[in-house]
């Protein structure tokens, strides 16, 4: 009896702290081309000053080929390169990874993780840039406010190298 009560009380004291969450969906579209290569993609957060507040993901060819090391084409992600990439030493744990196939890819972060832990409250933009070998390049932006007091979501649609890009912010 006493034990049960204790557990119940302690349950009240430790409030069910659901961590604030940011969930991102990025669709790499299926393209009907003769020579298809998986795109290089950079996903980052920009503050109101349009400076990079954090890199969330960079997908690139991480191995050497006869054409060169995969880092050679990172500058094709033009905006990411000038705002962040060129001062970054890749690979970066938890951020960089190999290129991904066609489909919707989900990234999820809690406010305890390094990408969001020190994010000051304010207006932000999720930016996704994609560049494909012998293909095109596209940049998609989704604005949001962090942290969210009520659940928010945002969506943008790429037209060539990116499909649907969505984000959901959970308070």
């Amino acid at each position: 009896m006493r034990a049960k009560l204790f557990i119940a009380v302690s349950g009240l004291l430790t409030l069910p702290a659901y961590a604030a969450e940011l969930e991102i969906n990025v669709e790499i579209p299926k393209l009907n081309v003769a020579e298809y290569h998986r795109p290089y993609v950079a996903i980052w957060l920009e503050g109101a000053d349009q400076k990079v507040a954090g890199n969330l993901a960079v997908w690139y060819q991480m191995k050497d080929t006869a054409e060169g090391h995969g880092t050679k084409w990172l500058p094709d992600l033009r905006q990411w390169w000038r705002k962040s990439g060129r001062t970054l030493q890749v690979p970066v744990d938890g951020v960089t990874g190999p290129t991904r196939p066609v489909g919707t890819h989900v990234l999820s972060f809690t406010d305890a993780q390094p990408q969001l832990k020190d994010l000051a409250p304010g207006e932000y933009t999720l930016v996704v840039e994609a560049a494909r070998e012998v293909g095109g390049r596209e940049l998609v932006k989704v604005p949001f406010y962090w942290p969210a007091k009520t659940p928010q979501s945002g969506q943008a649609q790429g037209s060539s190298e990116l499909g649907a890009v969505g984000l959901a912010v959970k308070p």
Partner: protein, 269 residues
Amino acid sequence: MKRSLILAAAIASLAVPFTAAAHKAWLRPSQTVLAGTDPWITVDAAVSNDLFYFNHVPLRLDNLAITAPDGSRIEPQNMATGQYRNTFDVQLTQPGTYRIAVVNSGLSGSWEEDGKPKRWRGTPASFATEVPKDAKNLKISQSVGRVETFVTNGSPNETALKTTGEGMELVPLTHPNDLFAGEAARFRLLVDGEPAEGVEFEIVRGETRYRNAQDEIKVVTDAKGEFAVTWPEAGMYWLEATREDDKTSLPQAGQRRLSYVATLEVLPQ
């Protein structure tokens, strides 16, 4: 009568600096923003009227100087001379900004010997030995010209951009490999290390063959020697400024012609 006309024409034609007058000299790198473990670039060097097409003569590379991001000089590789262009490769082993420049400095002139015009080209050193001390109607002019471009591997830096204090040079207030369409870039022009006011820059975007007008941008340096240009679109741009003065380094030279050319790549947003 006829002879003096020919003489006058000959002397007038000697106001030609080292690169053919009215033609554009340029260096064009294959790429200006690079990354990777060991990136290389190839540079075309030519003198022509059309940008950036090689259809006249190569630009001589006798005075090519490549400055690495740490300020040291490095050598080009795979140099080749063609009918219309010279080419060379640069291996970018260091991260940072490289400056690739051809700096020509010299004297040219004429005098009369036995009633015939004698032309001469040389340096202040060879002037003492090659030009007779009592030369008649001696007319000497000096020319100092810089043709350059910039390339960055990884993160840009500014060590190689340090000016030398000689001739015409640009201080890039906006980094030359950080240029994007629709954005304004700012530069300061120096002549012998001092800001130069009132010098006009002519700025032309490449691909002239595929349009009907030069669409050149003309801008004049202000009291601080500065000018700004907002790039209308992405592309490879050629910039030139020239100026004449009498601040020659040889007392016998009456006139000095300074010129500056840069090739800058402007990327799309």
